[in-house]
Point group: C2
Chain length 387, copies 2
């Protein structure tokens, strides 16, 4: 096990009927708040009303910044920052999924900065202070509700960048599984795939061979994300499955899986971010295509690791590591297909002719994320396996 610091201060309120706590929990941080949310869903399913009612009951003055979309964009965040400054807001409330929470984090940091928020993402500026953030989660996927990371798309530059800073932890996150009852099947699946990808990135990129505590934890999260996803395709209002999916997705990227693994990376996210930034594909759908291809590309090099995964997660019995590793990738890909998640670029309507442009698009992020081994040529090879 490698040395690590683990310090996750987020307060989680989890369960049925917890949304009305958002008002009192937020009131601890200020009176004037910016409410960040998405587009249609939150108003259609009644969560918007319940959040606003609770904030009003706590005597908070609400300024609204709706309209966040999947693959959230710099322009919309900049508008939120201007709004927060204009009204002197003291805290941010995010009500939504990962895109909404990430936008809220960017606004929380950008509102107190004397430069454009994008400079945090390029590593040219570091975050010194942020507005306090509270969240009501409506999608089990990103883990942003309990971590210090955020992802944003610079639409003019066609770049989707992500980064983390410990000031970005939300103060409080409310996780009511019932808030995800109305998430459509496809997005339920993409959320599960996102959680699975977060576990797999760490599981597959650690170079420490002696991390059995983390391994068992990660394997359990993978098994649960998959099982919960299957239950939800059968019954979208299965409370237990919604709860298990939500908690699995949160734990998949709250720092605990990575603690002790040493240097890990996000190479699959690196590649997916190009699919999202150039073709606006849903993040989970993009990851679903990249994951099996990335594993095939690294099969020989990481066969022992993939074989362990295959044996423990899929009950693969092959003695030979390479055979077990290959079977693991095939099982994962077959599972993705079984839950109607794409596994080829074609299914995303991305033509093979676009591969060089996608590969080139990864390079600025590869540099910032210190993944020099992911040259455009290598990414191109991996993308050619996504067919």
């Amino acid at each position: 096990m490698q040395n690590f610091v683990f310090h996750n201060p987020v307060k989680i309120l989890f369960g049925k009927g917890t949304i009305p706590a958002i008002g009192p929990e937020t009131a601890a941080f200020g009176k004037r708040i910016l409410l960040v949310y998405g587009r249609r869903a939150i108003k259609e399913n009644g969560i918007y009303d319940r959040v606003v009612e609770s904030l009003q009951a706590a005597d908070l003055e609400i300024f609204e910044h709706g309209g966040v979309r999947a693959n959230p964009r710099l322009g919309h965040v900049e508008a939120g920052i201007a709004l927060a400054r204009r009204h002197g807001v003291e805290a941010i409330v995010a009500a939504g999924g990962g895109s909404v929470i990430d936008s809220a984090k960017a606004i929380a940091a950008g509102a107190l900065a004397d430069h454009n928020v994008w400079l945090f993402f390029t590593g040219k500026k570091s975050i010194k202070r942020v507005l306090p953030l509270t969240c009501v989660l409506t999608l089990a996927a990103s883990g942003s509700e309990m971590n210090s990371a955020m992802v944003l798309t610079h639409e003019a530059k066609e770049l989707k960048f992500g980064f983390a800073n410990r000031l970005l932890y939300p103060r409080v996150s409310i996780l009511d599984p019932e808030a995800t009852y109305t998430v459509p099947p496809a997005h339920t699946v993409y959320g599960a795939v996102d959680a699975i990808s977060h576990v797999l990135e760490f599981y597959c990129t650690t170079l420490d061979p002696d991390t059995p505590v983390q391994d068992r934890f990660m394997e359990g999260l993978l098994a649960n994300a998959m099982a919960s996803c299957e239950r939800l395709l059968a019954d979208p209002r299965d409370y237990g499955a919604r709860a298990n999916m939500m908690w699995s997705a949160t734990l998949a990227l709250n720092g605990l899986t990575a603690a002790g693994l040493g240097k890990v990376g996000f190479p699959m996210h690196l590649i997916e971010h190009s699919l999202s930034s150039l073709h606006d594909v849903v993040h989970g759908a993009g990851l679903s295509v990249v994951m099996p291809a990335w594993m095939r590309y690294h099969l020989e090099e990481k066969k022992a690791r993939f074989a362990q995964l295959g044996r423990r997660l899929f009950g693969i019995e092959a003695q030979d590591d390479r055979a077990a590793a290959l079977a693991a990738v095939e099982k994962l890909q077959a599972w993705l297909t079984s839950v109607h998640s794409p596994v080829t670029l074609q299914e995303l309507d991305i033509p093979a002719s676009d591969i060089p442009r996608l590969a080139a698009n990864t390079q600025p992020q590869a540099k910032i994320w210190r993944l020099p081994e992911y040259t455009a040529a290598r990414v191109e090879e991996i993308l050619r396996l996504c067919q």
Copy 2:
């Protein structure tokens, strides 16, 4: 899954060479500190010197309160409280295992109270404020380094009580696996058994049948505590095994395993505390005797749960739940014996004639812990299975 709040603010510094951070980390909380530690070990293995050196380098004024023993006692804590008050200390540093950290927690709370610290344990007073606490852990066992619980023995009343309050979380805990290299084999095993018992209490007392995220996490911790323990009996200086044991023990009782399980209890600890308070047995050794007996007593009622444990942890293949459950208890008991941990009262030199007195001794704690079903008669029945 049941509703829960999870909010664990402890900062963990984990790994080789982390002990010198204790000075700078503690300096954030005050200049005048009380250093709480045990008896011989910490001076013999050099950790005392390294802690003091780091505290001095950070310009802290150190007042010392050594001599904490296993099953820590009220009298010694009262002396520590008097010392803390007399010198107006601003923070407490614990360097030791669970007994030292628990004593430090009691001093941290008692120093700012206007009544005897024991009233916290009897539930007659609640904690309002505490002195900040930082820890250097030297034994993988109790989990106290990352939780809000403490246990103390009232020597005159012959009562060992435990309780939790969220003000009792340490601010910072330093976990250097190398600090446990010199823990003797028997205490390494008792530490593993303590961690195992923390997982088993929750695993076996939850009544929620749909907690697969927590189940997989707990099963992984059990597998790792057992595997690490075996590695350490073969090689006490196996760094990976020390690290895995330490992190497993911390995660076994930091609130994450229990989050979502609903009401859980500590019936095995209830019974063990009588063994410790009346016979001063090592906590882990007492638990080792109580666990299999407690499981046998509840076999019929909890057979589905024990069967799942048996199948996943020990690979038991029996289809019938009762048969699998019984096999699980037998496997656990056999494993305890294999690592030279006691499984009968006789091995603890406790005569059967003492069973009624031990059972009676559990009743005050059973009342405070709201475990009315654990009458003296029932505890006596369980203790008769410890033979």
